[in-house]
Symmetry: C2
Subunit: 267 residues, 2 copies
């Protein structure tokens, strides 16, 4: 299996602290050492760093830990290969352009019965079930909304329906972002924390490192961190329920009402 790390914020924020602990799981405190990747959205732009080396020892991961890139949406992944060989083309996150925006996707789990389906607009470059699932989502979204990105209340139920269909093929924990929203689906294991004022200190589980966000953050900052398992041992993480699809925007999960109109939750 693999591990996921995501961040969604109301302003550009660096992920150095969380990435430090996450990275250690790629060959140091855990055995997810078959490559890693991280995507940073900066405005409309998206840059992705990939490596097929273990994140704990990768020179590129070292740069990311030490070079603070400020981003509003981050999707990161450390891989333990199951379906698809070890190789750079099979490192998550995967990216495609849809409706003039970059979309990025990372997956944890196996989808052994998911077929590649007919040849759509988006096709896999590598051999993973994960990239196949991502292309399927992109193809179905494009088919359903060929002209432009629909409002969230139209997009969400469509994404939820296709997510459930794909999840029936196995385990489908994923992070998906268009640079504004971070879609988070839990099939078996995902949790999150929202850090906002009043801020406190946080201590990593995987490294003996503490950061006092009170010293670093301003009262307006709000940051949601999503991970396969919690990254800190002195904060309360919220477990996402199996089958749940969340959408984070500006550092908060949106709440959908019965008519699918969405509101920002009062966290």
């Amino acid at each position: 299996m693999c591990q996921l790390l995501g961040m969604n914020c109301n302003g550009p924020t660096d992920i150095c602290f969380s990435f430090e602990g996450f990275c250690a799981r790629g060959g140091k405190t855990d055995d997810h050492k078959d490559g890693w990747g991280i995507a940073f959205f900066e405005g409309a732009a998206c840059r992705v760093f990939l490596d097929d080396k273990p994140s704990a020892t990768s020179a590129i991961a070292k740069l990311i830990r030490e070079y603070p890139i400020k981003s509003t949406n981050v999707v990161a992944h450390i891989r333990k290969a199951t379906i698809g060989p070890v190789g750079l083309e099979n490192c998550h996150p995967f990216t495609r352009e849809l409706w003039g925006r970059h979309w990025v996707f990372a997956h944890n789990g196996d989808l052994p019965t998911l077929k590649s389906g007919s040849l759509g607009t988006y096709r896999s470059v590598g051999q993973t079930d994960s990239e196949r699932a991502f292309c399927l989502i992109m193809n179905q979204l494009r088919d359903k909304f060929p002209q432009q990105q629909p409002p969230m209340e139209e997009l969400f139920p469509v994404l939820q329906e296709m997510t459930q269909a794909i999840a029936s093929h196995g385990i489908f924990n994923y992070l998906l972002s268009d640079g504004k929203h971070l879609f988070v689906h839990c099939s078996t294991k995902l949790c999150y924390i929202v850090r906002q004022s009043p801020f406190a200190a946080a201590h990593l589980i995987d490294e003996d490192l503490t950061v006092d966000f009170q010293e670093l953050a301003t009262p307006c900052d709000r940051v949601a961190i999503i991970a396969t398992t919690c990254l800190t041992d002195n904060e309360t993480w919220t477990t996402i329920q199996p089958g749940e699809l969340l959408v984070f925007q500006d550092g908060l999960p949106l709440i959908f009402q019965d008519d699918w109109a969405c509101k920002v939750s009062r966290y």
Copy 2:
């Protein structure tokens, strides 16, 4: 304007030496300091490093200069902004997936009269004429060959025709790669060199650095380097003629005969 650097080889090769000299032009020996980018193909995989900082001082460019990534096709670009503001979304190379392969593109020149056209499958994320031209090429190739990548003798004349049409809007020097081939179009200024046995020493123009390829390369290695202006002062670079579209494969330009059947040139 901007500057281009490309590499096409018959085996995985690092570009550290050429990138060292090229990088210096982004804020040190020249003023192309509005961002830079480099794409490395490694098998089917492609990883892209982008930065809106000058390449001469960028921490990510420093990593690339010092961390040898071995690749068969490289496309790099340093930007001096003309059309489209300075920003990460406007840094080249741009990437899209077509026929299950990654494609990367970088452009030097201005295309002031190129319209965005109707909304096709591929759309721009940023504001440059360059990304618009790239999307136009991708859309037209997909429209012409919807199912799969055609043989080179079918692809080449189609690409040449659409290149000429776009070039009529201004200056259109470009590098385009699908990971196997490197397409090189000269509108005003591009040159190349093929390094192969017997190898010799090369000395950079932009930095006082010499590398003796005889010590580093094996007799089978063949590497083509393409650049806006020559990078070394003790080698003979070949000027590409305005209007010429070349295709490099395995470190050599292909030669097309009248019936478009292509052969590897006897260099």
